[in-house]
Amino acid sequence: MSATARRPAVATRLVELAPRHKLGLTLTNPVLLAAGMIGYGDAGLPGLDLGRLGAFVTAPVTRRPWRGDLPQVAETPGGLLWRRGLWNPGVRVVVRDYGNLWRRSRAPVIVHLAGDDPDELASVASTLESTPGVAGLELDLLRAYHDEAENLEEAIEQVRAVRAAADLPLLARLPLSTSDETVQALVESGGVDALVLAQPPAGLRYDAARGVQITGQLHGRSLAPLLAARIADLAGWVGVPLVACGGVHSVDDALAYLAVGAAALQVDTAVWVDPQLPGRIVAAVGEVSW
């Protein structure tokens, strides 16, 4: 029998992203899609097989409808700047429009909460807790380049508010620049089940032909080594599962994250270009001995 013939139809490598949570968040494999990469689950390209994913993270959800400047995408060498903002129709409409999709989803759904106000976050979390199909929550905490002590205090308050409102596993997505001390304090404060590293950093491209500055969150392959280094720094001592988010553009990128200590990884904008990439990573992960 050939090696190919012995492969399981769908490679599996169970991963637990919320070991401290009473319900846990057990995924069939460690390959997720990052926040918003397929909208609320409605925006995938042909070739993406949702059923093979460990989970996907939705686009942001706020309590009320959020509109700002029109979203924009601008290419950079090997990546892009994405100014998305928090565009969404508010939690009530999101649940109305996508709740059935989530309930029937072949991949667990992790909803990305957005906003700063603890009461508003709690309100959204409470609505989502009673929405069938929602397996967990993800929340951006801390802000890059802000005062860390003040930042931490605000983050802990946000986590407590969400935790009090909803008994769902909670993943916290942090800036890459977050210090060891702040990471430790956040984890020790309780309530965070896993850390996602990292929020896409802010970038700026100057379009000389038009004389304009284009800003947005930076996505691209060059982030992979930065993220891998930070995951490796934290993996030995942080005490909660680490999820690498961004930079993955090949199977090797993904395996590198797992090798240095990530429990799981999130593929981001690469899936817009190569929708079969997550499936190939799942297959590769199932074949590797860990």
Binding site: G36, M37, I38, G39, D42, A43, G44, L45, P46, G47, A59, R67, L70, P71, Q72, V73, E75, T76, P77, G78, G79, L80, W82, R84, W87, G220, R221, H249, T269, A270, W272, V273, P275, Q276
Partner: protein
């Protein structure tokens, strides 16, 4: 669908290049106004796929037109050779809807945006309909040469510099062609389509919903509706052009 397609033919068309690709059955189900996403370079450079509107659909192939090499990805694509394989996703989005009784089709476009209308033109001719094309360019070199179009298409041009017809198709030609048409399809920049809406309102005071459709003038970076860069404002809120469009009723677009 996701497909590896084969570049079967390269020919010049106007000041651009026509690439004929062969692919699977799903790809060939492409309707006028739908688009495909092509990977336009190796190793993530350039990063994103490029959205292209097929300009002709045949039983075994479809044709893509590259009319500008200013873009790095399209320039790469233009260098592919016959026999090369291309990584193409599609068809995506919703295309034009022309009813069987709409026999006289008026096409109105700016030269740089005309590709989706060429596919519609071919489909209308294939069902024995009539087509008039009004094309606006900056200068004569922007325009498709008459020989590039089927002889049965009535073709009128205008250029801003007067080198191939005077002025503006919307000022000089539209009012004459409108009474003839029982359907209109347009493609152009936001300002061009906004002026078209105004002219339509002047020339046809009765509601023209269902008569005129237009390709939303927005980028399609991800092609799937995730990035929201293709948001289009309509009278009923914002919609993603790559999912709900890119073809909309002209009356719907808030330009």
């Amino acid at each position: 669908m996701s497909a590896s397609t084969l570049l079967a033919e390269r020919t010049e068309l106007g000041n651009g290049l026509l690439l004929r690709v062969q692919g699977g059955r799903e790809l060939l189900a492409c309707r006028p106004g739908q688009f495909v996403m092509l990977r336009c370079g190796p190793a993530w450079s350039p990063y994103l796929r490029r959205a292209l509107f097929p300009v002709e659909m045949r039983q075994d192939s479809l044709a893509l037109w590259i009319n500008s090499l200013a873009d790095e990805g399209l320039a790469w694509l233009s260098r592919r050779k016959v026999g090369d394989s291309l990584d193409l996703l599609g068809p995506l989005g919703k295309g034009f809807s022309i009813q069987p009784q709409q026999r006289r089709l008026l096409l109105v476009a700016e030269a740089a945006h005309i590709a989706p209308l060429l596919g519609l033109m071919q489909a209308q001719l294939a069902r024995q309909g009539s087509v008039v094309l009004l094309l606006q360019g900056q200068t004569a070199s922007d325009l498709l040469p008459p020989g590039a179009l089927p002889p049965s298409v009535e073709y009128y041009t205008a250029t801003s510099d007067g080198s191939a017809g005077d002025g503006d198709v919307l000022d000089t030609l539209l009012a004459r062609a409108l009474p003839w048409a029982d359907a209109l399809a347009a493609a152009g920049s936001g300002p061009f389509l906004r002026r078209l809406q105004r002219r339509m309102g002047d020339a046809r005071p009765e509601p023209y919903r269902g008569f005129a459709q237009a390709v939303a003038p927005v980028p399609l970076p991800c092609g799937g509706g995730a990035c929201l860069a293709c948001l289009v404002e309509t009278g009923r809120g914002h919609h993603r052009a790559c999912q709900r469009g890119p073809v909309f009723d002209l009356t719907e677009l808030a330009l």
